[in-house]
Symmetry: C2
Subunit: 444 residues, 2 copies
């Protein structure tokens, strides 16, 4: 034991990073492995997707975060497979040996068996997802500016968000703000306020895990930003022209050029390696079923935490895939490793639910903090404070605060970059009476 005990942590998200930090004074060797070189503050990804923040603002380099932790090292690599007998993680063309393994590789977008929807309805899990969504949303307004046909323009100005959980609500709110505030005077051939923002939710109300009163408050806040909630409704098809919905009133189609996916995630494929190589059991969503101490049966040296884990809460249901769960699990596992090495008994993991927060556009939010339910400005300030507090890296906090203060005062959004134009011809541009005319037959 002691210095020779090798802890390998897969994934530098909240779970992995909190586990590494909990081990900072332990006499173990920590190796953190991630495909990317930064920790991503996922709760603010939607702000990048809607031009409020830059990718760098919500990403902290893992090396910088762990610089002072002398017992930790970082490898940039992808874990491909596992050899549970030899206790090795297989990388592309190397392996790493462990005495204890902590797997915290998260989740990815899941289209309920319709992977072909991914092309038309990007989800929001990575920095690249966020900049892709940002480009699509801004490009839709650009295309509307050049579109003379009112019906076609309407399709460019219709935004459908699938999934009425916190991410969907935050996306829809931010879109409403962009259309009603940010871009207000930016266009000449239409008014951005004409946009339709539709939030589609399968359940009978948005934010289903929150108390019903807050769902109503959230819906009202969205309505003020001209976003409409379509509840009790399933998406049955998505293509480049729009979505098909099945609701209480039957099946119908909505023309939309921009569909965003906030409906479902599934565990990362590394769960299958755990099942194949270590006999782990997977649930329907691909999550790894773990015991009370978050390790897998027959392999007490392998912990699984965060979105990849199916850990039971006090009510017997799996804990939700949110940042606070991953943080608490990471910290727990770090301590459990220390306790085991010291020969102390390890108590089962217990999640302490400190509540839920969701923000809806500028200066509005809903908060469900146990006995406290509140909304509006107070909830928004709470949301701001909680998120800033957890933003890893001091510089990011200051930058994010400056950007938010600026948004709040000016209704502006700074990070409005559209990605590079595709190699092929650009999207169809059509005429405007004075400045832009449809191209007449080929020139001499």
């Amino acid at each position: 034991m002691g210095d020779s005990h090798r802890v390998v942590i897969l994934g530098g998200g909240f779970g992995g990073l909190y586990a590494a930090r909990a081990l900072r004074r332990a006499g173990v060797q920590v190796t953190l492995i991630d495909r990317r070189n930064f920790h991503l503050f996922q709760p603010l990804l939607y702000q990048v997707a809607t031009g409020g923040l830059s990718p760098g603002d919500i990403a902290a380099p893992l090396r910088a975060v762990l610089r002072k932790q002398k017992n930790a090292r970082v490898f940039l690599a992808e874990a491909r497979d596992l050899d549970a007998e030899q206790r090795r993680v297989i990388l592309d063309d190397a392996y790493v040996e462990y005495d204890t393994l902590v797997v915290s590789v998260g989740a990815r977008n899941h289209y309920f068996g319709h992977d072909e929807w991914g092309e038309f309805a990007p989800g929001l899990k990575t920095i690249e997802d966020a900049t892709e969504i940002r480009s699509r949303v801004l490009m839709a307004f650009e295309a509307a500016e050049r579109e003379p046909d009112p019906e076609a323009r309407r399709a460019w100005l219709t935004f459908v968000v699938v999934g009425g959980g916190p991410t969907g609500v935050e996306l829809a709110g931010a879109l409403g703000e962009i259309a009603n505030d940010t871009l207000k005077d930016d266009f000449r051939s239409f008014r951005p306020e004409e946009s339709s923002i539709l939030l589609v939710e399968h359940d009978s109300r948005i934010l289903p895990p929150y108390p019903e009163k807050l769902s109503v408050k959230a819906e009202n806040a969205l309505i003020r930003l001209s976003a409409r909630c379509i509840t009790g409704t399933r998406v049955t098809a998505i293509d480049g022209e729009g979505v098909e919905l099945a609701g209480p009133a039957g099946t119908y189609r909505i023309r939309s050029r921009t569909v965003l996916w906030a409906a479902g995630v599934a565990a990362s494929p590394f769960g299958e390696a755990l099942a194949r190589r270590a006999g782990a059991q997977l649930d329907r969503k691909g999550r790894v079923v773990v015991g009370p101490d978050l390790s897998i049966p027959d392999h007490p040296e392998i912990f699984v935490i965060g979105d990849l884990a199916n850990a039971r809460g006090g009510d017997g249901n799996p804990l939700p895939g949110v940042a606070p769960v991953a943080m608490q699990q990471g910290r727990y596992v770090g301590r459990a490793i220390i306790d085991r090495l010291a020969g102390r008994t390890v108590e089962p993991f217990r999640y302490r639910d400190k509540g839920n927060l969701a923000t809806i556009g500028r200066a509005a939010a809903v908060a469900d903090l146990g006995p406290l339910h509140f909304n509006g400005f107070a909830a928004w300030v709470t949301w701001l404070f909680v998120h800033l507090m957890y933003l890893v890296g001091f510089q990011n906090r200051v930058l994010v605060l400056v950007q938010w203060a600026f948004h709040y005062l000016t209704h502006n959004r700074g990070a409005r970059l559209i990605g590079p134009p595709p190699a092929g011809p650009s999207p169809s541009v059509d005429g405007d009476a004075t400045a832009l005319r449809r191209q007449t037959p080929a020139r001499a």
Copy 2:
């Protein structure tokens, strides 16, 4: 004339934007066309390339910049060709009619006939160039961390910058700072200070357009950051393994996995459309030769400004492709259009050279402001002030100032994101005695 006079501006860089702004009170219709939706503050691109700033910090949405200018509209489109007879700019599948055309589409990287070098030695013209360079530089340190062979590691830790002009000097200085300060304690298997940074310049000294004394000061500042200048030396080959150099001592090879190009730019291909369709004359670098009023012969209604223009300075030489030239030309052309419509005589364009500034790492710079030559901290503060003053968009100024203050105080760099891993297998990872072992034969 009056409201019916249509001014079309191609390119939203310094030239195009200053021209559009100079027309803000004129009774004309302004249409600004750009492939991208943002104005890019190119003098700070090297800061994005070296992780000091985020792309959003140096990019201002064109629509936001021109929001209040009611006589201006913005189109996101690429100008493909010109019909000088009908006075039309041809877009992908539409055209735009003009009465006056201002072409300010800039320059692109130029490899002196060796386009194959582009793959190995990215230049620094676009946001994507900058994030690509950032990924390569950070990835080189990551690869060095995993490389057990000392010689191969040395190639990862050797950075070659080709071209000793202001961009090359700024890149080399920023690389020196990254190696000596930013990443100091981030790695476990080598010290970033072991890195070699080599700045290769064809001329006998770096910063050839500056007074000789400042070249020496700049070289000393670079040496303090462990960057070495190799002057009087040409690059004769670049590939994935390094560069071949031909200097006073003959031809030799330097092993390096990261080569950056700051040596040459050529005018944008739209110059060829001007030559083909409007009889414009191009110089050796593809720039359009313009008259004293910056219009092209036989087409007084077509102005060419910025990096695309070959305009003679007071000394008979073409003006350099720098931001102040483009800004002054844009402002001049805007006024010339107003004067012409009012029937007033248009004076020839005269560039007023306010000096040159280049920064070298943290808190050092050289300034050549006419009679004033200075260097060190005073020049750095001047540089900071001048660049902040011109940063378009208030929010960006505040953000950039916060980031710089933070760098200055902590030697940290926030925007250290490496792009997504390639789809194929990741770069070769080799063993380290304790944590990472070379993969043994395929597993059972």
